[in-house]
């Protein structure tokens, strides 16, 4: 599937149809308001893939939309919010109301679980979580959450073992990729390298496709080689309204508009999904609705002041 022989370039609709299934455990790329795979999120909503389990570190609007669309049964993460833009309202309501089950970890705990997953070992030790309710409490659907063991070489020392996590499919948005599926990620990397390498499938949208020759000349710049990548979608501005380092800033106006609708819920939220997702055939139509080329240029100029 992910060999050099396979043509991996396809549309977001095809990538979601082929690699995201009902009941899947989805690894969520990006963090909070940075580089989230929004084109795939919209496509999952349009295709109504359901009973999903979302895993990641700081899950933001990407997770909140899937929860708000009623497609999520469980989340496992370090945080659910949009930081300065407020709480993840759909998620918060769903967890308080019992329709979504959440299991809490710290961010290092989540990345430690991905680390075990990518190394092909069943668990990994960590020194965090000791003494706290992150260990003491768990949701109904969680089996054995952890084990505390003495360090075999120094029995006075204790560590927490956490189980490996291998998502069925991770959804990512990156700056650059070549047609083979080699990925170049710029800026922060958060939990992504470990999560990608732990995943059974990885689907990626990118700002631009670069020549394979460029990757082969400077292979030390490759963040993730093609062997982990199953589908590649060319989708400029594919993380909107979240930011992409060196390309464009997050769209404050749209984040606030989303948060107004999510806070209100009900009809206001249904209208948001209708206007921006269900009534759009693809992500391009959505990008036109949020301001098109003019808005893109503005956010791009804002980013150029930063880098």
């Amino acid at each position: 599937m992910n060999s050099l022989k396979t043509n991996k370039i396809m549309t977001a609709a095809e990538a979601v149809r082929r690699f995201v299934f009902d009941g899947a455990i989805i690894g969520m790329g990006g963090q909070t308001i940075g580089r989230c795979a929004m084109a795939f999120i919209h496509e999952i909503v349009r295709q109504k893939k359901k009973d999903l389990t979302l895993v990641g570190c700081n899950l933001g609007m990407n997770m909140d939309i899937l929860v708000g669309a009623g497609l999520v049964k469980r989340t496992e993460c370090g945080t659910g919010n949009l930081e300065r833009f407020g709480t993840a309202f759909s998620w918060r309501r769903a967890v308080e109301g019992g329709s979504v089950e959440n299991e809490d970890y710290s961010h290092l705990a989540m990345v430690t679980r991905f680390l075990a997953g990518e190394m092909g070992v069943p668990f990994m030790p960590i020194r965090s979580l000791l003494g706290t309710d992150i260990l003491a409490k768990k949701s109904a659907g969680t089996g054995k959450k952890y084990e505390i063991i003495p360090n075999p070489w120094d029995p006075q020392d204790r560590v927490v073992l956490l189980p490996a996590l291998q998502p069925d499919v991770s959804i990512m948005h990156v700056q650059k990729a070549d047609e083979e599926g080699n990925l170049i990620i710029e800026g922060f990397l958060t939990h992504e390298p470990e999560m990608i390498r732990a995943s059974k499938a990885v689907i990626v949208s990118c700002e631009e496709i670069i020549p394979a020759e460029e990757v082969r000349r400077y292979p030390e710049r490759t963040t993730i080689p093609y062997v982990y990548v199953h589908a590649l979608v060319l989708q400029p501005w594919g993380a909107h309204p979240t930011s992409v380092y060196r390309y464009y800033m997050h769209d404050i106006d749209h984040l606030r508009e989303y948060q107004r609708c999510a806070r209100e819920g009900g009809a206001a939220y249904a209208d948001y999904l209708d206007k921006y997702i269900y009534s759009c055939a693809n992500f391009e139509e959505y990008l036109e609705k949020v301001g098109g080329w003019r808005k893109y240029q503005k956010l791009r100029q804002e980013m150029m002041k930063m880098v």
Binding site: R84, L130, F188, T190, M306, V307
Partner: protein, 259 residues
């Protein structure tokens, strides 16, 4: 001439005074990020900022709204991974100061940022730990900034997300935390509190100018202990306030617009 400042402004400035130049500071989102920026622009220009998405030693631009905001990546020495900063730097024990906020802080300086009510069907769901549990577990020193309200300072947190002294002076040791006796300081808009290592409990060590111990007690959900001779937090200078207002948060993203 009297200096005009808001309590939040002095809270930020005072918390920044607890950072020394050259230290490695792991700053959480929100007010910790703002206060650490202020420290970097004033007395701690060689401070090494660490942010959980991966930035190491950035010159943070005013003013990030998120740990993933590109403003927090500006002129970094390295944009690394979450495992690199929370694992290699923090868990290994290389971070001098862990700087956190919190929804609730109890008498043992434990932090709740997860739930109020039953875990499985919470009355209120907060965002969760993020990197806060890791920071409170492993930083050599822990600095907490939080507005002083009774509901934020309960006797016992409904859920312990991030460890303070857990249940007493030996609480961290008994739980197996390697960093068993860290300094923990809480800076609020009313006072500065620090954990008394004999009891594992917070005690007031300084008061904000014009604030009485009675007022701190009225706004705290547990009996407030204090040092015998309480001094006042030093007033900010005009220059301190100018830097905070014009260079750290010029658009009033965190400090709010002028009334």
């Amino acid at each position: 001439m009297a200096i005009n400042y808001k309590p939040d402004e002095l809270m930020i400035i005072e918390s920044a005074r607890h950072i020394n130049d050259g230290e490695i500071v792991f700053a959480g989102t929100g007010l910790p990020l703002v206060a650490a920026m202020y420290a970097q622009k004033t007395h701690a220009p060689h401070m090494c900022f660490v942010i959980e998405t991966g930035p190491i030693a950035p010159q943070v631009l005013p003013v990030p709204t998120s740990v993933s905001d590109p403003k927090g990546m500006h002129r970094a020495a390295k944009l690394g991974t979450l495992r690199e900063v929370l694992g290699c730097l923090l868990q290994r024990g290389l971070v001098d100061v862990g700087f956190l906020g919190g929804a609730q802080i109890d008498q043992f300086a434990n932090i709740n940022s997860t739930v109020i009510g039953d875990y499985q069907r919470p009355k209120i769901r907060f965002p969760g730990s993020g990197g806060a549990n890791d920071i409170a577990s492993h930083a050599k020193r822990i600095l907490i900034i939080c507005r002083h309200e009774k509901r934020r300072f309960p006797e016992k947190c409904a859920y312990i997300t991030s460890p303070g002294y857990l249940s007493g002076p030996e609480g961290r040791k008994e739980a197996g935390l390697k960093n068993a006796y860290p300094d923990i300081t809480v800076v609020t808009d009313l006072a500065v509190m620090a954990v008394d290592k004999k009891t594992g409990k917070l005690q007031v060590i300084k008061l904000m100018p014009g604030v009485t111990l009675e007022r701190v007690q009225e706004n705290t959900g547990f009996p407030v202990n204090s040092l015998p001779n309480l001094s006042n937090v030093a007033l900010p200078t005009e220059e301190d306030l100018r830097i905070l207002r014009e260079e750290v948060d010029p658009d009033g993203e965190y400090l709010g617009k002028e009334d």
